[in-house]
Symmetry: C2
Subunit: 217 residues, 2 copies
Amino acid sequence: MTSAPQPPAHRASGRTGRPRSAEADRAILDATRAALVELGWGKLTMGDVAARAGVAKTTLYRRWAGKNALVVDAVADLFDEHLDLPDLGSLQADIEGVVLRFAALLDRPETKTALMAVVAESTRDEALRERIRSAIVERQKGLVLLGRERAQARGELPREDEPAVAARTADLIFDVIAGAVVHRTLVSAEPVDGEWARGFTALLIGGLASAGAAPPV
Amino acid sequence: MTSAPQPPAHRASGRTGRPRSAEADRAILDATRAALVELGWGKLTMGDVAARAGVAKTTLYRRWAGKNALVVDAVADLFDEHLDLPDLGSLQADIEGVVLRFAALLDRPETKTALMAVVAESTRDEALRERIRSAIVERQKGLVLLGRERAQARGELPREDEPAVAARTADLIFDVIAGAVVHRTLVSAEPVDGEWARGFTALLIGGLASAGAAPPV
DNA sequence: CTCTTTCGCTACGACTCGTAGCGTAACTGG
DNA sequence: CCAGTTACGCTACGAGTCGTAGCGAAAGAG
């Protein structure tokens, strides 16, 4: 009842009949983000989004199952735009870079509100959690794998032998980086600036080095 | 309009008139947690909580300003019960212990749902954020300080000279521990078991050791 | 030109919100 | 024992939101 079984946007074009307006899609997602900034999650209403987008309320419900699914898609767009990992030449610089970029993304009011609200709702909705995972989490995790690949090519990190261990380590690093930045930004409510990013990166790289040198019991 | 200016529970007892029922307080907070488990944040209604608690809806509004404030208090109770830091003899064991205890707390369905939802709402409500900070975050942060104190007494960690640096480091560690556990549990949706706790602790201690040995530029 | 699908619009019952008003219950100070 | 004061349960209310249904018109496909 909460999450959407239907595909997020356009379907296969072999269909007959009037096609869905792609422009309406954009307008709706833009309106969702704007309304999120002004009203927050709790006071965001479907009717308001429809009015902002210049679209009938029924059109919203034809495409998304409800507030949850709509907001997930609206936020996923932002992650598409702002998540990449430029090669900055060293592991230290790469991690600092991704930390700062992720922090900048979380600093946007529409992102911080929406992401947490959707995650909260996902604790009760398996389909919604899958949607978040594929739309947001997996893309971020790809950055971790890419960063490690580069660091190994540079010789900054040892190559893992066992793929199972390598996967576990990557998951761990991902949770540590994303978790620390999110917690600092949203719970502690203090800024992720260059100084914090340096301190955090030093901590993480130090841990990786020593953990690699002395593998766990 | 969202958060409560009034004190959470009992006022100074020098007052005249009928005192507030402490039993009702308990019943309401219990009912809130139960409803949270069954319905989730989105479908939780004040009327439903009142009915479960055997209390008039108006009584709820006399004590709390709304859903947000009510849920913060309901969850803060859980943190009171389950957060402490037994001395396990080593820094490694202490960290693993607190990670596992915190993870067990987050594994409760009422905690995971409520905490995220309240944090999400707090991004738009300064008073609510303060309430979360004093009711939950500061108590957790105390554990970090206590753990470091013990580790320094054991000689496992160097004593910080500058208090400013020491405070920054404590904040960093706090965000890393709490953030990683929360992210692993709620976003990655994978279990924090003994194996994960060992790997994480090894990473953290390694980082602390090397950061202490080679202070940041 | 017909068929199919989406569109905007209106209207609807069901539900929740937060407040107000009332009479009653509980406790305090004289 | 008797005001005075405060909290309580109950009922009722207007305002707002939800998600759906039904309609005629618009936009492409064959």
